[in-house]
Symmetry: C2
Amino acid sequence: PATGGDASMYGLIGKLRAQPGRREALAAIRREATTAMPGCLSYVVAEDSTDADALWVTEVWDSADSHQASLQLPQVRQAIARARPLIAGFDAHVVTRPLGGAGLPQS
Amino acid sequence: PATGGDASMYGLIGKLRAQPGRREALAAIRREATTAMPGCLSYVVAEDSTDADALWVTEVWDSADSHQASLQLPQVRQAIARARPLIAGFDAHVVTRPLGGAGLPQS
């Protein structure tokens, strides 16, 4: 269901660095915000297995527009504000074009 | 449903570099292999939006055992063999512990 000019899926792969010892708290906030986001096909929060303060967030949206709109949702805005003091930095932030695979509603 | 000693989910985030011009062919092979892999909760193949030869594969499994077992499936073995000549290298290969989020069967 394309709403804008680009009907392709939109993906994000981010590596967040938590303040020392705050990864679990940061992960909880990121997970809470993922309910009821229109157009979100997948949103996975994962701990790096070897980097103790690193958290990976991988997202698949039905469009870039849906992702952009999500940033205005009240629960997302609140989560971003609550997460900010727990984040030391962003080690990676990659925009992708998901092609498909397994586990996506439309694949 | 834990089968081994570790009941937690198992994740992989990989950045593959295709031989020049072969990303589309490589992506097709990676996507074909994702059907009927027991324990695979999510397997997304995505093009990097700015790096023309880079392909991201993000995987979530119900356990490390399920991922390991998948490597012995005939269609996976065949896909690995067919993909090999199209791959120039691996820019990233990260093991994660997915905590949950949206779009996973068990979250």
